[in-house]
Assembly symmetry: C2
Homo-oligomer: 112 residues x 2
DNA sequence: CTTTCCTCTGACGTCAACGTCAGGTTTCAG
DNA sequence: CTGAAACCTGACGTTGACGTCAGAGGAAAG
């Protein structure tokens, strides 16, 4: 994590911070999980706005019907993205298998 | 597909085009599959440079050992990405289930 | 009190895959 | 032959999640 990222999350109102009298940020324990969640959702393609909108149900289980719609929309989008990725992976995998079959295993260096 | 995207692919040397005497682009049949492949790989997070590098093995099966390394690297990255996405999806799915279970449809009552 | 490190705010920079606009040229149906 | 639709090149604009820099100030050790 970079300091810049934390500031950015705060700017987006995703991560509140306590301040010392001098103005320095101080985070409660809970912030760690919050940050991990934010990273995960950014990584899954949700926008700042969407995460902000979903925060009440993400962190407090307060889910209204419109929020439920949004949750379902995002989940379905992620599912489609997973399927697209599987397609790409299978394409590469096919090439790898194909290229590997040509050379005997003991001649090829494979990471992992 | 936008025209702009095709021009961009050509700029990146991913998609050659025949030109009419007047300079207009004409694509062979094969180009359709090529474009679909490019889109799929962009969608999976590969850069123009990586796709360009892998083109010989992607479209002609000519895979050198360094290319094989790159293929494996990208495949593994995609696998990690799929797992990350599954994590995010499961989180949302949990919330959806939770929110749905709380108010079974047949129990919902509307306060006056 | 000083030193040294860490933090603050504010603002501009980055990168990639296109979108979009302007002004000119090619194509082809009628 | 002609006119409008489609295409051309070149160039700048967009977007989001930060990176990075400058200058100023707080935080604890000695």
């Amino acid at each position: 994590m970079s300091v810049r990222a934390l500031r950015y999350y705060e700017e987006q109102r995703l991560l509140p911070s306590d301040r010392s009298p001098g103005g320095q940020r101080h985070y409660p324990e809970q912030a760690v999980d919050r940050v991990r969640m934010i990273q995960q959702l950014y990584g899954a393609g949700l926008s700042s706005g969407t995460i902000l909108y979903l925060l009440p149900c993400l962190s407090a289980g307060r889910t209204s019907p419109p929020m439920l719609d949004r949750l379902v929309t995002e989940r379905d989008r992620i599912d489609r993205q997973i399927n697209d990725l599987k397609g790409a992976r299978d394409r590469l995998d096919g090439l790898i298998t194909e290229a590997t079959d040509v050379w005997p295993e003991w001649e090829v260096r494979r990471p992992a």
